[in-house]
Symmetry: C2
DNA sequence: TATTGTTATACTCTATAACTATA
DNA sequence: TATAGTTATAGAGTATAACAATA
């Protein structure tokens, strides 16, 4: 349909040709395709870096089947037992609707429990279970390993500088 | 259902209470909720920063209805006219299946055209239309404005250092 | 056989709105 | 009225698989 209409376009040669030149084998996204204005955009670099970090995190913690958001939720609850769902959602910038499902899965794995709040019957006080605490200790060791991968990738000094630059966003 | 089973949990007071203390007005995610191990994780800081950047980009370019990925596609095509879809997808780390839809929308707005390749009848040579070139010039001015927002947010020097640290990811 | 563009499906994530039970 | 947790839905975005046309 769309295809058909596209192919109606005349096939005259355009004069312009692709500027792709392959590098040697093993290069990553290694085509000599210019990016021009894209280089110099913080957003593009940060986006690519963030994808790399998340992929490495997921891979490094694949054995325990924990993703970055699940890790952050458990970490915040461990550091602030009794927090409500709203408080966790606000602190991590997660939609409260989404946190419901995240907690459902963490509760199903017996890592987190929702205790009815003593003071407000609408809200839940979130706690790690005993099993959750043990598990989180293991997750933290793996997360530290992931963090070492980051340091290897961009350099120890650069990683520390980056954390200082972005401290305001945590 | 799940709710019901949750509410069966005994309502005994837990002793633990939320540790939330409000700051003065104007603070951003301004609760004194400890993050502990989360601070010190590059991935967390980078993720939050990336979300801030994308939100600002989308907001700054809202008048022209262009999102970061659309901008990056048009920029790469402008810098390398005649590129195939596979080449663009690989260069930007986008799935080729997704690029199809991105190009459909850019083509529908007459910003991009798919010219049948002169040498390989399977592939399309991608070009900006005249309208696309004019539009991209405007997008670039707005993107530069967005980039100034980034510099204001983290500091001019820090932004430049960040770009140097992450240069390998572009 | 392998690759390009395409279609389709599933799953994650974001953004909303609406509902309930409480406050 | 407003808030906490929940449910539901729609739109991006990611990850796959499969197909037709072509190499």
């Amino acid at each position: 349909m769309l295809m058909a209409s596209r192919q109606k376009i005349s096939r005259k040669a355009t004069g312009t040709t692709a500027t792709i030149r392959r590098r040697g084998p093993g290069s990553d996204a290694g085509d000599d395709i210019g990016l021009d204005a894209l280089v110099g955009h913080a957003g593009y670099a940060v986006r690519r870096f963030q994808l790399w970090i998340f992929h490495d995190f997921i891979k490094t913690l694949a054995a325990v089947d924990i993703r970055p958001t699940q890790y952050s939720v458990m970490t915040v609850i461990a550091a602030n037992p009794g927090l409500s769902q709203m408080a966790v959602a606000k602190r991590l910038g997660i939609e409260r609707a989404r946190l419901v499902h995240l907690l459902d899965s963490l509760e199903a794995r017996d890592f987190v429990s929702r205790i009815p709040s003593a003071t407000d019957r609408r809200s839940h006080a979130l706690h790690l279970t005993g099993r959750g605490k043990t598990a989180l200790a293991r997750f933290k060791r793996l997360a530290a390993e992931h963090e070492r991968h980051v340091a290897e990738k961009i350099g120890k000094e650069n990683r520390e500088h980056l954390l200082r630059i972005l401290a305001g966003f945590t």
